[in-house]
Amino acid sequence: MVYLLLILFAFVQLFPFYYMIMLSGKSNREIFSENSLAPPKRFQWSNYQKALLQGKIARFFLNSTIVTGASIALTLYLASTAAYAIKRIDWKYSRQMGLLLLVGLFIPMHSVLLPLFLLLRSLKILDSHLGLVLPYTAFQLSFGVLVLSGCITSIPAQLEEAAYIDGCSIFRAFFSIILPNMVPAMVTLAILVYRFAWNEYMFAVTFTSTELMKTLTAGLSGLKGQWQTEWGLIAAGMVISIVPTVVFYSLLSRQIQSGLMAGSLKL
């Protein structure tokens, strides 16, 4: 019956996770001899030990964390100030500026790869955290402005008007009235930027060259060539890399799902 179909599909969706976890617990001998579908005879935590302590994967994790964290912070800041400026400050060109800020929604990242590469190179920030944070923020900005300006519109203007009458400046109004009311939307935006930045591959692999600076995506895929025989270790790295994502997703699944849906449907 219908449940069978659902359960079958759930199995299909979950199988790769099972496989990856099983793989991370196997020693090399097991990987290259046994039936790969079977679970390991004894779970080799040494793979995780090596992954976390030996340095490379831990470094990748650190880089991803720094880049993602900074991108989230910067995007939230820029998107909220932009959204507020467009929607709440009376200006001749508000509308045009608003449209200009949404341009990023239509530009595929791939098409600006070369100029960005050359630009970052001339700014001497290739192979650095900044070299990823800045492009990531730039490409999430349009989406952020879209989401947050929608949110701002729903905040009643009376709140600020009352503040202005009391002699409040525009900045004060922004920080003490608008921002607190935007928290749910900012949380949603933060999650979506997290997902983008943590998982981004193309920029990460193009703009970083040394292993010191690679994020998890670039680093793990790069290990594939070097450590041909250490798939258990790589699998451990993969599991480690998805732990934060799965944790966030488990805690906030409803928000993540609705955030992605709302964002897509706005198009």
């Binding site: 219908v2 659902l6 759930a10 969706q13 979950l14 790769p16 996770f17 496989y19 990856m20 290259f32 790969s36 998107a79 100030t81 932009a82 400026a85 400050i89 009376d90 200006w91 500026m97 200009l100 800020l101 341009v103 990023g104 239509f106 530009i107 595929p108 098409s111 600006v112 790869l113 070369l114 100029p115 630009l119 800045l134 730039a138 490409f139 900005l141 349009s142 400046s169 900045f171 943590w198 998982n199 591959y201 193309m202 995506t217 793990l220 895929s221 594939k224 890399s241 998805i242 994502t245 799965v246 997703y249 488990s250 699944s253 993540i256 992605l260 849906m261 897509s264 449907l265 198009l267």
Partner: protein, 291 residues
């Protein structure tokens, strides 16, 4: 107040605009400019007008790349979508464990394509991969292949993880559409004696057409931007069979140092995306179905 307004505008609006201009708009324009050059990145470039585009279309490799993209798109529209719509309707119809199923179905969407690709690469391994192991267990040794290296299966092998990862996204998208349909429509249909299948085909599906339209746009544009899956698993091989426009562009730029030709492909990708979005919007004229 006016002076304060101007300061506020500058402080609040200038940084974001500057960001967009420097890292998005300027590079886009530059891409366009580079596409008109013959340039190796080191020496001075020479202006060649539209030669790069002409050569791109004449040499033909781009067409094979687009063909692969279309294969993915067709898989998405005619395999993934019907399946996703069906599952969406099912889990929207008040079954037990709906939240759990949604959670599981959507899980692949949130993890990185890198991880997805690395796992699937292990699946495909000839000697130690899950796929061939499973075939052995079923007694189908002869069906085993080097899935990513075999010219007959490589393209499908690369498409599979992409479809796998995003099905949950579309299930959720269609689910959102289904859930927004007025329950009363179902009730009155049931009173008239309609079966589940009739309701699904005559009421639900027509009413979610706006959502389907968005989904079509997303999957079309998405398939033209696909990069990760191919680059991680095959880098365009074997012998360039799995190339898509983005990987072709990547090779032109970073391996062949043909900045001009690479940029021509980049411009092509942008135009593709914009054009297709506009075309789908026009073609897919969806009338609001009212009861």
């Amino acid at each position: 107040m006016r002076k304060q307004k101007r300061t506020a505008l500058i402080v609040l609006l200038a940084p974001p605009l500057f960001f967009m201009a420097l890292f998005v708009i300027f590079p886009l324009v530059t891409s366009g400019y580079y596409s008109l050059l013959e340039w190796d990145g080191i020496a001075e470039g020479t202006f060649v007008g539209l030669d790069n585009f002409v050569e791109m279309l004449r040499k033909g490799k781009i067409f094979a790349a687009i063909f692969n993209t279309l294969l993915l798109l067709l898989c998405s529209l005619f395999v993934q979508f019907p399946f996703a719509i069906a599952l969406a309707i099912i889990i929207a119809s008040r079954i037990r464990g709906e939240g759990a199923f949604r959670f599981i179905f959507f899980l692949p969407v949130v993890i990185s394509t890198t991880v997805v690709c690395l796992v699937w690469e292990r699946f495909y391994n000839f000697d130690y991969g899950a796929l061939n192991n499973a075939l052995e267990l079923l007694g189908l040794e002869t069906v085993r292949r080097a899935w990513l290296a075999d010219s007959g299966t490589a393209v499908w092998a690369v498409i599979a993880p992409a479809v796998w990862q995003w099905t949950g996204f579309y299930i959720l998208l269609f689910y959102t559409g289904v859930k927004s349909i007025n329950e009363e429509l179902y009730d009155s249909a049931k009173i008239d004696g309609a079966t589940f299948r009739q309701i699904a085909f005559k009421i639900t599906i027509p009413l979610i057409m706006p959502v389907v339209k968005v989904a079509v746009i997303l999957t079309t544009v998405g398939s033209f931007k696909i990069f990760d899956y191919i680059w991680i698993m095959t880098k365009g091989g074997p012998i360039g069979l799995t190339h898509v426009p983005t990987t072709l562009m990547y090779i032109r730029i970073f391996e062949e140092y043909s900045y001009g030709r690479g940029s021509a492909i980049a411009v092509f990708i942008v135009l593709e995306c914009v054009l297709i979005t506009a075309v789908i919007r026009k073609l897919f004229v969806v009338e609001e179905v009212t009861h």
